[in-house]
Every structure is written in structure tokens, then in C-alpha cells.
Symmetry: C2
Subunit: 189 residues, 2 copies
Amino acid sequence: MLGAARWLIEGRGYSALGVAEICKAAGVPKGSFYCFFESKESLALAVVDEHWAAQKPDWERALGGTGRPLERLRRLFEETEAGQRAVQDGCGTVSGCLFGNLTLELSSQTESVRLRLQKIFEAQVDMVESVIAEARRRGEVRATETRQAARAVVAQMEGQVMFAKLYNNTARLTPLWDNCRALLGATAA
Amino acid sequence: MLGAARWLIEGRGYSALGVAEICKAAGVPKGSFYCFFESKESLALAVVDEHWAAQKPDWERALGGTGRPLERLRRLFEETEAGQRAVQDGCGTVSGCLFGNLTLELSSQTESVRLRLQKIFEAQVDMVESVIAEARRRGEVRATETRQAARAVVAQMEGQVMFAKLYNNTARLTPLWDNCRALLGATAA
């Protein structure tokens, strides 16, 4: 059910979806929805949680490890671009970021989802900030306010992923690395 | 009708809206919708066009004029923050960017709206690029690829506006000026 719901939400958005349609895509009897979820909102929360549970280890793997900190950020951008390209290869369109999509579609309506999305983005900013702080200790970036810098990097990713989706073109994500080095005032090539 | 439709789309998104509800908010008889618009999609196009017709002169005024080019970009960020704050003061929530919201809600479904949003963002990038090119001629920025730099600035705005909406906090827009100077490699304070 979660897989079907996520697929539908990525393709058509959350608001337009009906419970009956989700059941049909999931191959469960229409009417059995409320055996699985209390509400459509709790389904949305489960989809968001599952997506982050899948994505978080990818972020940890990309940003962790022993390479130079900025190279690990670069790996995150490259994997993001490759992930969007894989979805585009499979279904023809760039799906964008599920969290960003739901932020702009839902955040003013569905308080529980909004709070969950806030937590997820804070976790992403935490992970990026710790890499920036490490780069700063090594003298590889000039940025001094690491929190603000990490927010700018995640905002840049969200903005460029939005354009990749709008233009259905994952090459829009290639400049992320240059943009990030400029944002952070990287001191070396 | 356009004003009512825009207000509803900003508050609740496009997909969840019904034609009857738009008519009710606009104070026109239910059933008269198709006297005004061929389809809900053509209403969305009209809302997008009207919003850009209103916003474009603001961008031209902020980015035009005789001040230093980067100061004009700074004016655009300050006016964007003030505009989001005014909406928040009026209705309690940061509404974000109508174009960004619709990009993430609709772009994979409604081809005509997607093409219109592409044009509008290209126009925004054009305007920002011409300011960056002017700054470059004056030696005030190090960025050499002005198109890519302009896209990064608009993406940064969209990403930070997304976070202002998610956290319902317009102060998220204050770092735009520092972020932009870093992105462009500004050479002076």
C-alpha cells in the first residue's frame, strides 16, 4: 500500500488522490483503507517516514566516510542527480523531491505532515552542517556560519531539483557542485 | 473570479479545488464557471498570467534603476521578504511562491501550465542575469558563467522561500543577500 501511495503521490500529488484510487493501485479491496490507516493524512505521514528511512542511509553513506568533506558533499549531489535520472529513465519524468513537493503542496493545510517535513529537513541540514564544520576545521571553506551555510546548500538543492522537475532535465543538477563551492567559499579546487 | 481562485490556490493548492468552490468564493452562480473559463486548467493559466503580470513590474523596478547592480539584487530579496511578511501578517501563514508551489504540485500533470511556468522562470532568470552581467562588467563579481549564476540565484530564492513557508518564518529569507554574494563571488562589501 505504501509503495502504491508513494508512486501515486509522486506522479499526481497528494490532494488530488482519493482513498479508493490508492486501494485500487495497491490491489486491496476498496473500503479496506481504514483497516490500514486512520486517515489519508496518516498514510501521508507513513509515506514520508518510509521515504526518509530509505533516503537517510544514502545521505549518511554519501556524506560519511573518510574522503575530504567537500568531496563527500559532491558525492551527495552526484547521487541525487543519478537518482533523479533513474526515475526519469523509468517513468519519463523527473519526479523531484518528495519532501519538497509535499512542502509546497501541503504545508499550510496538514499540520502533522508539516511538522514531520520540518524535522526531516532539519536532519538533512544537520548532516550537511557537520560536513561543512569539518571542512571549516580543515581550512577548506571560508563560510563561518555553518548552520546558515548548510541551510543555503539544502535550499540550493531543493531549488535546483524544482527546476530539474519543471524542465524535466536532470542536467539542471550538474551545477550544484560549483554552486555549493561558491556558497561555502571553498578555498581549494 | 481570478482573485478568488488565486486566494484558494495559494491556501489549499490547485488539485484539491473544485469548480463549484471557486464559484462560491467568487460569488458567481455555481454552474456559471464555464461561461468564464473553458476548463479548470485555463483558469490556472489565467491565475499564473495575472500573478506574473503583477509581479513582473515589481521585479523590473527592483532590478532596474541606477544603483549598483548587486544593490538592486539585494532590493529584490528585501522586497520578496517584505511581500511574504505582508501575506503572513494578513492571513497567518507564509504562502510561498505561487509559481514554485504550482511547479511542484502540477508540473508533471498539466502540460500547458508547465510550459507557462517554464517561460516565467526563464524571464526571471533573464532579469537576474542581466544584473549579474552588469556587475561582471564592473568587476564586482567573479562569476563568469552568468546564466548558470542567475539560475543558482533564482533556485536559491525558491529553496529559501520553500523553507520560509515550511517553517512559517519569513526570517528564513534574510540570508538571501549573503548567499547571493557568495554564489556570485562578490568582490566588494
